[in-house]
Every structure is written in structure tokens, then in C-alpha cells.
Symmetry: C2
Subunit: 276 residues, 2 copies
């Protein structure tokens, strides 16, 4: 069944052209988004994602044109129309149509229904290679639509058989292009609290880790990451993904770490039971 | 007569919704633009603007889907349809529709016809106030669509009766949100060559200034700007606009400088005769 999208109150086919060309998201990159999915047909950690979306909107001074309840109704309708058990939802909020191409008048709010990202169980056990990249996201606590470096480097990543970029600046690591970073030093689990997007999966993994490990949340140096025993990255689509190589340097022994795989199992169990 | 727009080969009404929602410009901020206008019905410095547009596209690794000749044809058609003597054109090139929301497949190319920006002859003689803002544009040599800080600060500018932001970082001034910066120290005219967009108006003004002043193109410190005798900013819409106040600090005596107004006159004469 074709997927649908919600745009400013209407539900329409996902392939419809809906944006006029004086939208500030398009002309000025003035937009934010969020992305989440269902497990067992139930949106995962919906309250957290909604709260983050509200927070991004507030930081970009965009008034949400919908309530949480309206949005839940739209999600249920989109989900039903998809005919699928599991779907992903992408929210996009832009500055809206601007006669002067500068000032926000009325934001545009879009919800896209998307097929689930391809799961990659092999990659999840084997881990990924990332390339170090000197950059720090602008307004990192806002999930803006600015992913220029990710798109720009997509071909280079492929060429180097790497899955993502590891952002670092002034000796400090922040995040990957769309996911958070954790490292293990022995039984100590460390993740950054600076220049990052507050990932929901990051939060869940910290909750899962606390009974088992000593969790430190603080700035993380690049040197710590490349000398870590284990490293992994977390996101809605990556879950708990081992990072086994940074540029030419293997992390630890170059294989997915046992503590990382333990957390991965806890996460997989959590989502397998979600909503039940 | 209603303005029109060109989108991937078709000319349609300016108010048509044309963008599908998986465009990388919208979802990932992966887009660039350019903007120019006619004088006496003739596009100003078209070769320069086209060259800059090509350069931006190359730096973002986007293949132009049109030739210069095709584009000239589209501009002529759009101009004729407008029924106006003078128009402004906005090019927008995005990463196009991306099934995976990451990889470029085929860029989308839009040309919007827009009414001329409001001329402000009073402002041009009186000058503007700008607010210092610690920031440097990402990929400054590319005219990307990323103007998040400009839109974010629009209300604050209004509140402080300022016209624009002056970007500076680590003691060095780069540019305003959409225009270049020049200063006069006596008869010496200085403009930055680092972390800037290479403005076409900037280039024209340097050409006009050379017979009359000693022109230096080099990094410019924030301190130099606030202690300058005169300052001004240049852009397609601002021409040669005096900057008379930076935050609470007047530039020089706080009035539009005589050398600045001299260059402004030269520029006005040039465009008054353009195409004749």
C-alpha cells in the first residue's frame, strides 16, 4: 500500500509535491526534523521524541502548529493507511512560506511515513568503520536539517568502505553525523555531553547500562576514543552499533567488544518486547 | 501579471507547490542558490553570477542539469512572462529527491522570478546599524542555503533597530549575513578575502575603487572594523550601504562616510547605464 504524508492538516499520498518554493526550509535551511519508529506497532519512546521535537522547535523559535494529541491522531491515521505492522515517521518543521525570504510567518509541518530502515544484523555484530572529520555541528542541540557534510562526504565514505563520519574538533569528539558515541575503558562507559544532539537511543542505552557499568557523561577527547577498549554508536536506526575502526586505526582489537554486544542484546530485548 | 518559476524544465505559476518532500534541500539542507537582478531589463553581470553558481555546484558535487544557454532561454521566458521591466531571479539547486534521504541521485533546479527588492535610498544615504555576532559560515565560499542564524536573529535585529549581523570569530571579521564588508582607513580601502562568499557587487566595487583608492584584500580584524574611519557593506540588494554603527559603537563619526558615498555614486551610475 502506498505510504502517505501529513502536511498542515491534510493527509495525502507520499509522492505528492506539497512544498511551494518560498519555504524557508528550502530557501534558507531554516528547518528541523525528528525521526522515530514503531516496534510491535507501537511508536518507541514517543514521549521522549515529542519532547525533543518541541525542544528543537522552541530553540528555533518556531511555534508548533499542532498539539501532541493532534499529532498522535495523525500518526495513527498514517500508520493505518500504510497497511504495515512497522513504520518509521519523519517529522519536518520549517520556517514556512516567507514573502520576504527572511521572516517566519507560519511554520509548515510535515509528517512522512517511511518504510523501516534496513536492519543490518551482520553489521551489528561485525561493527563499522568511521572516518575522523574535523567539524562540530552548528546549534548541535537542535535537530536542524543541516546535514551538508554528511551528504557531501557520502561518496568518499563509500570509497573508503566507511559507514559514517566521526566529528571531532579541538581534540574533542562530539558525535557521528546522525548518532551518538560511547566508549568503554574497562567497565567504565563514557559518552559526551557537549556539542551533541541528545539522542533518545543514547538515553535508553544509558538506562540499560547503569545497573551493569560505571557510566560517565562528560566531554570525551579524540585520544580517548582511539585508545578505547571498545566503542559504539547509538541511534534510532543503528541501535547499538560497534565502531571497530577509526580511519586506519582499529578500536581495541578491531572486533566488536563484548560489553558493547551485551548492551546491544539488552537493547534488542527491550525493543522486541516493546508495547507488549 | 503573476510571476512564474522554472522547475526542471517546466515553467509554471510561482505559487505552485512543486517540491516533493524527500528533497535533500528540504530534508538535509543540501542546497545552494544564487540571486541577481536586471537593470534596464538586462541581467547585471550575468557571466559572473553564472560562474559563481557553477562554482557553488561543483563544490557541493552537484551536477548542473542545465547549460548556460538553456538557462538564458529560461530567464528570457520568465522575464517576458512577468510583464515587468525589472525583475530579480533566484536560482536554487538542491540535492534532489533521495530515496534513502542521504545520497544525491539527480539535483532539482529551480529558478524563481521575484519582484525587485525594495530600494531604500534613504537608508543608503543614512547608513545602517549592525550587531556583532560570533559566527563564521560553514563552507563560506559556497552560497549554500544555510542562513539559520539570520532567520533566528531576525526578531532581535528588529528589536535593536539593526539591519543585519556582522559575523566575526577569533577576532576576525568575515561578512554580514548576506553581504561583504569594506572599511576605509583614510584613503585605504580594505576588504576580507577569508571565510567569505565572493560577492559580485564586492568585485564590481573593487573595480570601481581601484583608480581612486589603495585597495587591500586581506583578513580584517574586528578591531580594525570598529576603529575604521568608514565602513560599508555590498550586495546585490544593498549596493554600497554605509555601516554607521556596530552594536553600540558608532563607526567614525557615526555618519555615512564621504568616500563610501563616492563609491555608492559610482555604483549607481554604473547600474543606471547598465545594458545601454
Amino acid at each position: 500500500m502506498p505510504f502517505h504524508q501529513y502536511f498542515n492538516g491534510d493527509i495525502i499520498d507520499i509522492n505528492s509535491a506539497v512544498f511551494k518554493t518560498n519555504d524557508l526550509g528550502l530557501l534558507r535551511g531554516y528547518g528541523l526534523f525528528d525521526y522515530f519508529r514503531t516496534y510491535n506497532g507501537v511508536p518507541f519512546r514517543w514521549d521522549d521524541y515529542w519532547q525533543r521535537f518541541e525542544n528543537s522547535a522552541r530553540l528555533l523559535k518556531l511555534e508548533l502548529p499542532v498539539s501532541k494529541g493532534d499529532t498522535e491522531k495523525a500518526l495513527a491515521d498514517l500508520h493505518a493507511l500504510s497497511g504495515e505492522q512497522e513504520v518509521a515517521f519523519r517529522f519536518v518543521l520549517t520556517g514556512g512560506y516567507a514573502p520576504d525570504s527572511v521572516h517566519v510567518v507560519q511554520p509548515n509541518f510535515l509528517i512522512r511515513t517511511e518504510p523501516l530502515p534496513q536492519d543490518n544484523p551482520a553489521g551489528r555484530l561485525k561493527g563499522i568503520k568511521v572516518l575522523p572529520y574535523e567539524y562540530v555541528r552548528d546549534l548541535p542541540e537542535v535537530k536542524t536539517t543541516n546535514y551538508v557534510h554528511m551528504v557531501l562526504m557520502a561518496d568518499e565514505l563509500k570509497r573508503q568502505q566507511a559507514a559514517d563520519l566521526l566529528f571531532h574538533k579541538d581534540g574533542e569528539v562530539s558525535e557521528l553525523t546522525r548518532s551518538n558515541v560511547f566508549i568503554f575503558k574497562g567497565d567504565k562507559l563514557v559518552t559526551s555531553d557537549r556539542n551533541i544532539l541528545n539522542g533518545i537511543t543514547r538515553r535508553v542505552v544509558m538506562e540499560l547500562a547503569k545497573p551493569h557499568f560505571d557510566v560517565e557523561v562528560r566531554p570525551v577527547s579524540y585520544k580517548e576514543v582511539i585508545t578505547a577498549d571498545e566503542a559504539f554508536t547509538t541511534s534510532t536506526t543503528k541501535w547499538v552499533m560497534p565502531v571497530v575502526q577509526i580511519g586506519d586505526v582499529p578500536v581495541g582489537n578491531g572486533l566488536a567488544g563484548k560489553r558493547t554486544l551485551f548492551l546491544q542484546e539488552l537493547f534488542e530485548k527491550l525493543v522486541a518486547d516493546w508495547g507488549k
